[in-house]
C-alpha cells in the first residue's frame, strides 16, 4: 500500500492508502475529519470541497496519493478555536444553512471565491456556486452570506495589513 504524507489543517500527517483511495476517504475514514461530506458519486454536488494549496477542490475526485506533499485545509481548519472564520460567521448571521450537510463544501467554495473577488455580485456568486448543490435553503440566503462573508474577509485582511 502506498504511503502518502501531507499537511492537513497545519498538521503533518501520513497514512497508508490504496491506490484507489480518494482524498475524501483519507480525510473522513483515516483522519477522522468528518466535516467534509460525500453527497454524490459524480462530482456534481460539492459537499466534499476542501482547499488544496489554497484552492477549492472536490475531494471526492482527487486521489489521496495525488495529495502527496500538499497543504490541505478542511472545514475543521477554518475557525480559530471557538471563533468562527468571517465566512462561517456570515453563514450563521444570514441563515445560509439548514440541515448543514452541504455547508462545509459551500463555505470552502465561498472562501475561495472571496479570496479571488472581495466584492462579488449576486450573479457572480450564483455562477461560482454552480458546483455546489443545496437542497434546503433555495440559495437565497447562501448568496447573501457569501457576499457578506467576502466583504468581511476583505475587511479583516485590510485591518491586518
Amino acid at each position: 500500500m502506498p504511503k502518502v504524507s501531507l499537511t492537513v489543517n497545519g498538521r503533518a500527517v501520513s497514512a497508508d492508502v490504496e491506490g484507489r483511495t480518494l482524498l475524501v476517504q483519507l480525510l473522513r475514514e483515516k483522519l477522522g475529519l468528518t466535516g467534509t461530506h460525500v453527497g454524490c458519486d459524480t462530482s456534481q454536488c460539492g459537499a466534499c470541497v476542501v482547499h488544496i494549496d489554497g484552492k477549492s477542490v472536490k475531494s471526492c475526485t482527487y486521489l489521496a496519493v495525488a495529495a502527496e506533499g500538499a497543504n490541505v485545509t478542511t472545514i475543521e481548519g477554518l475557525a480559530n478555536g471557538n471563533e468562527l472564520h468571517p465566512m462561517q460567521a456570515a453563514f450563521k448571521e444570514h441563515h445560509g444553512l439548514q440541515c448543514g450537510f452541504c455547508t462545509p463544501g459551500m463555505v470552502m467554495s465561498a472562501v475561495d471565491l472571496a479570496k479571488r473577488n472581495s466584492n462579488p455580485s449576486e450573479h457572480e456568486v450564483r455562477e461560482w456556486l454552480e458546483g455546489n448543490i443545496c437542497r434546503c435553503t433555495g440559495y437565497h440566503n447562501i448568496v447573501k452570506a457569501v457576499q457578506a462573508g467576502a466583504k468581511a474577509m476583505a475587511g479583516a485582511k485590510a485591518a491586518a495589513d
Partner: protein, 790 residues
C-alpha cells in the same frame, strides 16, 4: 416579545457545529469492530429469481457474511409494513401485497435488493457482490400507469395492478351541478415523478450488543420512534425495550426519510447474526433507486361554473403511481392528503374525486415535501386559470369571486376538512402589491421589444398540516394516532433540556423550541438544550413531517411548560410563605403578586432537587414534566405566490425573473427560520416546474439515475425571492401556529406553470406539463409557428 422569545429572529444555536464540521451525521459514526454492508440490487425491472449462488463471493477477501431473502424468511422475520390502509369504493379493503425486506421469488423494480454482502470494508463488500451469480428470468415490464391498466397487462403482484380504487364526495350532486353549468373548464395534467434528493444519502448502522441482547440502529430518519415501532413489532419482532433507534444529525429529509426502509431492518437483524456492528451508506446512484420517489399523478379535472364565473362543482379523476411496493405511508398520499385538499381556497360547493392507485415496476412512491397537497394545488390552480380563460375573465378576479370569505371561518368543505382560519383576500392583495401585478403589462411590452416572451402567473393555495388529529387519521385508515410528546427536564441549577418526539433535519428546532421555553420561563436560550432523535432519551414521538413540529410538537412543549410552571409556583409559594394562587412568573422570577418578594427560577429548581426547606409532603422533588398533545384539527396555512418569467423563444429557456410569496403560516416564532423554510420550498417547487423529473425507459430502466441526468436546481437556476408573511392565527393550538415547511413547494409549481402558459398564450399554448424544459417549450413554440405558417 423578549429578545430571544417568540417573534425574534434569533440566530440558530445548532449552526456552530454545522459550520465547523462538527455535525454528527450517521455516516460520521463508527462503531468498534464495525463491518460494512453492500446491497446487491436488481438491474432489471421485473424478473423471477432462480438460484442465487453466493459460494464464490463468500470466499472473496474480507467477506464476513452474505444474506438473501431466503435467510430472512427462514428466520421467521416479516416484511416491511404499510402504515395506512385505504378502502375501495365498494368498501372492500385495498390490495396490500407483501414487501419483503430482501426480494423473495421476484424482483419488481430496478434497485430491488436481492442480497446483502457484509465485509471488512465497503470496497470489499462491493467487489464481492459482483461475484454473486443470480439467475433471473425476465418478465414483461409494467413501466407506466397506462401499461398497468392495459388489458392483459403483466401483473406486478398476484392481485393485479390496482392497489385501490377510492373516491370522496357526492357523485350524483356533482353530475347534477355539471348539467346546470353555464360553462365548463377542462384540463388533463400530469404531476411529474420526482426524486427527493436530500443532500445526505441515507445510511444505517446496526449494532447488536451480545452482552445485553440490545440492538441499536443509527439511521438517517425523520422519526426514530416510528422506525423502532415498525421494525421492532413487524419486521424483527423484538420488544421495544431491546431496541434503540438513534437518528443523529440528518442532512435533509423532505419526506424521503420518514419511511422504514429495508436497509435499516437488514443491518439491524444481520448485526446479531454476524456479532459485529454493520454500517451501510448508500451512494447517490443507489439513493436514486432506493429512496421513495414523490408525486407521479395523471389527472383529468373539470370545473362547472355559473354565468358569473362562480364555481359550481369540481370533478376529478386521478391515477396515482405506487411503484412496485407500498412504502410506509404511500396509500394516504393520493387520498387523504390530496383529494381532501381539492376545495383549496374556494367555496366550490360540490366536489367529487376518484383516485385509482396503481402498481408499476418502478421504485415505490411516497410522501415528498407537501405530499398530496402540491398535487391538489397544482391541479386546482392550473384549472382555475383555465376557468378564467374559458369565461374570458381576469385570473385575479375569478379567484376573488370564489374565495372563502374571511368571515366564513370555521369553514366546512365538501371534502371532509374544516378550515379554522384564513384570509385569502388579504394574502392576495399583499402579493399583488409586492409583485407589482399592475405594472406587469409594461414589463411585458419592454420584454417583447427585446424579443423575449414575458409571463406572470398566480397561485392562491391552501394546505393542511400539523398532522394529525389521531381520531381523524384513525377513521381515515391510519394504523397509528399521530400526537406528539415533549418532556422538559429542569436541572438543579436552572438549565433546561427539552426532549421532543419531533426530529430536526434542518428546520432549526434546537433554536425555535428553545425560544418557546425562553419565552415562557424568562431564561436565556443559552440555558436551554433541545434533545431529539434518540428513542432511549425521549418517551415517545411521531417525528417530523407534514409541517407538524411546531403546531403539534411545539404545543406539547407548551403543555409540559404549563406543568413545570404550575409545580414551580407551588415550590415558590412554599419558599415565600405565600399561597400558590398569588405567585406570578415575571421576567424569569416567581413573585408574590403585589410585593417585591421573589425567587429566581434557579432558586426554585435548586430547591426542587436538593431539598432541605421543601414541602415534601405535598410536592415531589424534581422538576420534570411530560406532556402529550393530540391536536383537534389540522392547521391550514395558505397564501399567494406570484411568478414572473421570461422565455427566450430562440432557445426555449425560461428564466424566473421575479418570485413573490406571501404565506399565512399563523404566528411566526422565528421569522428568519420561517423565511428560510419558504425559500427552500420554493426552490423545490420551481425545480419541479422547470427542471426536475424522474424518467424511466420502456424497460423500466431509470434514465435519470444520477446528478448527471437529474436536474437539481443550482444557485444559478433560481432568483432571489420576495417573501412576506401574513398571520391569521390557528384557533385550536395555544401558539396559533400553522406550519411552514411545505408551503413553498405547494404554492410555487402552479404559479410557475401559469406564468409560462401566460407567456406562451399568444402562441396558442394552453397547458404545459412539468417540467417546462427548454426543449419542450422550444418544440411547442416551433409547432405553433409551423401551424401559423401553414
Amino acid at each position: 416579545m423578549g429578545a430571544e422569545g417568540i417573534g425574534a429572529a434569533v440566530r440558530r444555536k445548532e449552526d456552530f457545529r454545522f459550520l465547523t464540521g462538527r455535525g454528527n451525521y450517521t455516516d460520521d459514526i463508527n462503531r468498534p469492530g464495525q463491518t460494512h454492508a453492500y446491497f446487491l440490487r436488481s438491474q432489471v425491472a421485473h424478473a423471477t429469481i432462480g438460484n442465487i449462488d453466493t459460494a464464490k463471493a463468500a470466499k472473496a477477501p474480507g467477506v464476513v457474511a452474505i444474506f438473501t431473502g431466503a435467510d430472512f424468511a427462514a428466520d421467521g422475520k416479516g416484511g416491511l409494513p404499510c402504515g395506512w390502509l385505504v378502502k375501495n369504493k365498494d368498501g372492500s379493503p385495498m390490495q396490500e401485497p407483501p414487501h419483503p425486506v430482501l426480494a423473495q421469488g421476484k424482483v419488481r423494480h430496478v434497485g430491488d435488493p436481492i442480497a446483502v454482502v457484509i465485509a471488512e470494508t465497503r470496497e470489499q463488500a462491493k467487489d464481492a457482490a459482483e461475484l454473486i451469480d443470480v439467475q433471473l428470468t425476465e418478465l414483461p415490464v409494467v413501466g407506466t400507469m397506462a401499461d398497468a391498466v392495459k388489458p392483459g397487462a403483466a401483473k406486478v403482484h398476484d392481485g393485479g395492478n390496482v392497489c385501490y380504487d377510492w373516491h370522496i364526495g357526492d357523485k350524483d350532486a356533482c353530475d347534477a351541478a355539471f348539467k346546470k353549468a353555464f360553462k365548463v373548464a377542462k384540463l388533463d395534467l400530469v404531476n411529474n415523478r420526482l426524486i427527493p434528493n436530500a443532500m445526505e444519502p441515507r445510511a444505517a448502522i446496526g449494532d447488536f450488543d451480545r452482552a445485553t441482547g440490545e440492538y441499536t440502529l443509527y439511521t438517517t430518519s425523520q422519526n426514530p420512534h416510528v422506525i423502532r415501532l415498525l421494525m421492532g413489532a413487524f419486521v424483527l419482532q423484538i420488544p421495544e425495550s431491546r431496541l434503540r433507534v438513534v437518528a443523529p444529525d440528518v442532512g435533509g429529509g423532505f419526506g424521503s426519510k420518514i419511511f422504514h426502509y429495508a436497509e435499516e431492518a437488514t443491518v439491524t437483524w444481520a448485526s446479531a447474526k454476524v456479532g459485529r456492528p454493520i454500517k451501510w451508506t448508500c451512494d447517490r446512484a443507489e439513493s436514486f433507486m432506493s429512496d421513495a420517489h414523490g408525486r407521479d399523478h395523471v389527472s383529468h379535472a373539470e370545473m362547472a361554473m355559473d354565468k358569473d364565473g362562480k364555481f359550481l362543482a369540481l370533478r376529478v379523476k386521478t391515477d396515482a403511481n405506487m411503484g412496485a411496493y407500498l412504502s410506509t405511508f404511500a396509500p394516504a398520499v393520493p387520498t387523504y392528503l390530496y383529494a381532501t385538499l381539492l376545495a383549496g381556497t374556494y367555496t366550490t360547493p360540490v366536489i367529487y374525486a376518484e383516485v385509482r392507485a396503481l402498481f408499476t415496476n418502478t421504485v415505490p412512491v411516497d410522501a415528498y415535501r407537501g405530499a398530496g397537497r402540491p398535487e391538489a394545488t397544482f391541479l386546482l390552480e392550473r384549472l382555475v386559470d383555465n376557468c378564467a380563460a374559458e369565461m374570458g375573465m381576469d385570473r385575479v378576479e375569478i379567484r376573488k369571486r370564489n374565495f372563502i370569505p374571511a368571515d366564513a371561518f370555521p369553514y366546512q368543505t365538501p371534502v371532509a376538512l374544516q378550515y379554522d382560519s384564513g384570509d385569502y383576500q388579504a394574502t392576495l392583495a399583499s402579493a399583488l402589491k409586492i409583485a407589482d401585478w399592475a405594472g406587469f403589462e409594461a414589463r411585458r411590452v419592454a420584454a417583447a421589444k427585446k424579443g423575449k416572451l414575458r409571463g406572470i402567473g398566480i397561485s392562491t393555495y391552501l394546505e393542511a398540516c400539523g398532522i394529525a388529529p389521531s381520531a381523524v387519521v384513525g377513521s381515515l385508515g391510519a394504523r397509528a394516532g399521530l400526537y406528539e410528546c415533549a418532556n422538559i427536564r429542569v436541572h438543579p441549577t436552572g438549565s433546561v433540556t427539552v426532549f421532543t418526539g419531533c426530529h430536526s433535519h434542518g428546520q432549526g428546532h434546537e433554536t425555535t423550541y428553545a425560544q418557546l421555553v425562553a419565552d415562557r420561563l424568562g431564561i436565556s436560550i443559552d440555558q436551554i438544550e433541545v434533545s431529539h432523535g434518540d428513542t432511549n432519551k425521549i418517551p415517545f414521538g411521531m417525528g417530523t413531517y407534514g409541517s407538524r413540529s411546531l403546531a403539534v410538537g411545539g404545543t406539547a412543549i407548551v403543555k409540559a411548560l404549563d406543568k413545570i410552571v404550575d409545580k414551580a409556583k407551588k415550590i415558590a409559594a412554599h419558599l415565600l410563605e405565600a399561597s400558590p394562587a398569588d405567585i406570578e412568573l415575571k421576567d424569569g422570577k416567581f413573585v408574590v403578586a403585589g410585593t417585591d418578594k421573589a425567587k429566581a427560577f434557579g432558586e426554585i429548581s435548586l430547591a426542587a432537587y436538593v431539598p432541605h426547606n421543601y414541602p415534601i409532603d405535598t410536592v415531589e422533588p424534581g422538576l420534570e414534566e411530560t406532556a402529550f398533545y393530540d391536536p383537534k384539527n389540522f392547521t391550514f396555512p395558505g397564501g399567494c405566490h406570484i411568478c414572473e418569467v421570461e422565455i427566450d423563444p430562440d432557445t426555449g429557456v425560461t428564466k424566473v425573473v421575479k418570485f413573490t410569496a406571501v404565506d399565512d403560516v399563523g404566528r411566526v416564532v422565528n421569522p428568519m427560520i420561517v423565511e428560510g423554510q419558504v425559500h427552500g420550498g420554493l426552490a423545490q417547487g420551481i425545480g419541479q416546474a422547470l427542471l426536475e423529473t424522474c424518467v424511466y425507459d420502456e424497460n423500466g430502466q431509470l434514465r435519470s439515475g444520477s446528478y448527471m441526468d437529474y436536474t437539481m436546481p443550482r444557485a444559478d437556476d433560481l432568483p432571489s425571492f420576495d417573501v412576506a408573511t401574513q398571520s391569521t392565527l390557528c384557533t385550536h393550538n395555544p401558539l396559533g401556529v400553522k406550519g411552514v415547511g411545505e408551503v413553498g413547494a405547494i404554492g410555487s409549481p402552479p404559479a410557475v406553470i401559469n406564468a409560462v402558459v401566460d407567456a406562451l398564450r399568444e402562441t396558442g399554448v394552453r397547458h404545459i406539463d412539468m417540467p417546462a424544459t427548454p426543449s419542450k417549450i422550444w418544440a411547442l413554440l416551433n409547432s405553433g409557428r409551423r401551424a401559423a405558417a401553414e
